[in-house]
Amino acid sequence: MNVTQAFKLALKSLQTSKMRSFLTMLGIIIGVGAVIIIISLGNGLTGMVEQQVEKVGVNQIYAYTWGMGDGTTSNITPEEMYAFIDENPQVFSGISPWVSGGQGVRRGGAEFARTGVYGVSEAMYRRETGSTLDGDTLAKGRYLQYVDVALRQNVCVIGAYLEREAFQGDALGKTLAISGIPYTVVGVLAQRGDELREGGGDDRVYIPYENALQMSGGRYVSLYQITATSRDTVAAAQSLLRDFLQDFYKDEDAWYNAYYIESMLDQVNMINSMMGIAMLVLVAIAAISLLVGGIGIMNIMLVSVTERTREIGIRKSLGAKRRDIRRQFIIEAGTTSAMGGLLGILFGCLVAMGLGSLLGGMLVESLGASGITFNATPTLSAILTSFGVSVGIGVLFGYLPANKAAKLNPIDALRYD
C-alpha cells in the first residue's frame, strides 16, 4: 500500500469521528498556536527596537569620561578628543561633547520645566549630511557655529515643540531665558516625532557646551557623543577609542573608573539577546503543550488500534504486511497532528494579529515613539518549523501504537470482537 492510499485512509478515519479528531488535535493546536503567538510578538518587539534604533542611529557611540578623580591626573579635553577622532576618519564620522545643562527655560512669563537643555559643540552638526549626529535636521536658521562655542555666545537652537509653544511658530532672532540668562534663538530643528509633546524629543534647547558646563557647575566634559561611519565600523571604532582612552588615563582600572564606552549597537544586541532568551523560555513552556498534545495523540491512537483490532486482522489476512499496518497508523497519527499544526498556525497568526494591533498601539503610544510600527507577524521559518514539529510529534507518538498494531497476530485479531 502506498503513502497516498494511507493518507486518504487517514483523512477518512479523521472524518468519521470529527469531534474526537478535534479534541485529539487540541493539544497540538494550543501548543503550535502559543509558539506562533510568542514568536510573532517577539518579532514585533524586536522590530520595534530596531526601528527605534535606526531612528536614533545605530552608529552612535557614547564615551563617558569622568577622569580619575584623584586630583593628579587631568581629564581629557574636548580638543584632545577631536584630534583623535580626526586622526581616524575610516571609522569615525563625528564627535560632540554632550553636557546636560539641567532645566529652567522661560519665555516671558511662561516656564518650560520639562524642556531639556543640552550643551554641544558645532561638530554636532555635520554639513555634509545636513543633519546632527542625532539625525536632526534644521527647519529654520542655522546650527551652532565654531565662534558661538569658542566665544561662549548666548545663542541656542531649539526643537519644534518649543518654537510652537513659546514663540507661536516664529522663534528666529527672539530670546528665551535659560537659568536666568537670555539666549537668542539662531535655529529651529525640524519636527522629529509625529506629535509635539512636552518633555519629548522636540522639547529641547541646544547651547554651546561650555555654557552648559558653567550652568551645571562641572569642570570637564564627561560625555561625548561620537558617530561611527556605519553600523559595521562601530565595533572597530569602540576598540580604537578604548585603546586611546586607556592610553590616556594609563591606570589599569581606568575602565569603569575614569571612562566608559557604550554604543547603541551594544544596547541593541543586549536587548535582542535578552529578548531572545525570554522568547526561548516562553517557547519552551509552550512546547510542553506540544508534548502533552503528542501524548494525547498516542493515547487516542492506542484506543483506535484496540477498536480496530478486527480491521487489522482482516487487512493482515488479505496480505497486509507489518510495515503496511505500521505505515497506516503512523500516517494517521501524523495527519492528525499535521492538521492540528495547521489549525494551530492559523489560530496563532489570528491571535497574534489581534494582540499585535492591540498591544502594538499601546506600546507605541507609551513609548511616544512616533513613526514606529509594531508588526506581530511570525517568520516563515517559524511557521514551517512548527508545522514540521507537529508532524514529527504525530509520527513520533504514533509509532508506539502503530507498532502495536503491526505486531498483532492475525488469528487473534480476526477473532476479536
Binding site: M1, N2, K12, E311, R315, L318, G319, K321, R323
Partner: protein, 244 residues
C-alpha cells in the same frame, strides 16, 4: 503431479499450563488444483487450527506444509502475508468487510496490498464484483447490504486477487438457510469454473455439497474421501454438537 496443498505429519501443540494440547496430531492431507473439499469436524476437532495453517495464518509446531510446491511452514509473518495475498482468498463466517470502506474499496484491498496500480485495481475489483452480481452496489457501504450480499462481496474480495485456493470458513454460518444455499451454490459454480475451494464447516449438510470430505476428530484425520460415501457423514462418538 505436485499437489496444490500438501500437509505432511503436521502437529500443532499449544501449551496449557502443565499439559499440552494437540490441536493437530499428525495430520497429513493433500488437495489438488480444481478440487472442492470440505474439512469437517466438531468444535475442538482441530478444523480451525487446520484452516489457520492452510490459510498461512499460523505455522505448525512440526511437520511440513507445502502450498503450490513452496514450503510455507517456516515462513515469518511478512512472507506469510505475501503468500496469503498472492495465493489465498478468504471467506469468513462474519464476512469481515471493513465497515467504513465502500464495497469496491473492500474488494480492492488484496490488490492494494499486492501493489497493483489504482486503475488496474479498480478494474479487477469491478470484474470480481460482476462475477458475484454486485457491480451496481460498488459505491455502497457494507452496512447498506443484506447478509447474503455482504457475503458475496467478501467472495468477490477473495476472488479479486485471483488466488490459487479459496478458503471458506463456515461461510454460511451467519446466513439463513436460503441465502446459505445460494452462497454454497455460488462456491460450487466457482469450483466448476476452475477454482480450488476448501470449505471448513461443522455442518454435514453443508459439507456434502463438496466433492470430497476430510473429517477431523481430536486433531486426526478420520475420514478422507468421496463426499457421497455414507461413511463420510458418520459422526463417531456422541451426537452432533452445535458449534457457533
Amino acid at each position: 503431479m505436485e499437489h496444490l496443498i500438501e500437509l505432511k505429519d503436521v502437529y500443532k501443540i499449544y501449551p496449557m499450563g502443565e499439559e499440552e494440547v494437540h490441536a493437530l496430531d499428525g495430520v497429513s492431507l493433500a488437495i489438488d488444483p480444481g478440487e472442492f473439499v470440505a474439512i469437517v469436524g466438531q468444535s475442538g476437532s482441530g478444523k480451525s487450527t487446520a484452516m489457520n495453517i492452510i490459510g498461512c495464518l499460523d505455522v505448525p509446531t512440526s511437520g511440513s506444509y507445502h502450498l503450490g510446491g513452496v514450503d510455507v511452514s517456516t515462513m515469518d509473518d511478512d512472507r506469510q502475508a505475501e503468500i496469503r495475498n498472492k495465493m489465498l482468498g478468504f471467506i469468513f463466517q462474519q464476512y469481515n468487510l471493513i465497515p467504513k470502506l465502500t464495497v469496491l474499496e473492500n474488494v480492492e484491498l488484496p490488490l492494494l496490498y499486492a501493489g497493483v496500480a489504482a486503475e488496474e485495481r479498480q478494474e479487477r475489483a469491478l470484474r470480481a464484483l460482476e462475477r458475484v452480481g454486485l457491480a451496481d452496489k460498488r459505491k455502497n457501504l457494507p452496512s447498506q447490504l443484506s447478509g447474503g450480499q455482504q457475503q458475496r462481496v467478501s467472495i468477490a474480495r477473495a476472488l479479486a486477487g485471483e488466488p490459487s485456493v479459496i478458503l471458506a470458513d463456515e461461510p454460511t454460518g451467519a446466513l439463513d438457510s436460503r441465502t446459505g444455499r445460494e452462497v454454497l451454490a455460488f462456491l460450487k459454480k466457482l469450483n466448476r469454473e476452475g477454482d480450488t475451494v476448501v470449505l471448513i464447516t461443522h455442518d454435514n449438510s453443508i459439507a456434502v455439497k463438496a466433492d470430497r470430505i476430510i473429517r477431523l476428530q481430536d486433531g486426526k484425520v478420520i475420514y478422507d474421501g468421496d463426499a457421497h460415501d455414507p461413511r463420510a457423514v458418520v459422526q463417531p462418538g456422541e451426537g452432533e454438537e452445535e458449534t457457533p
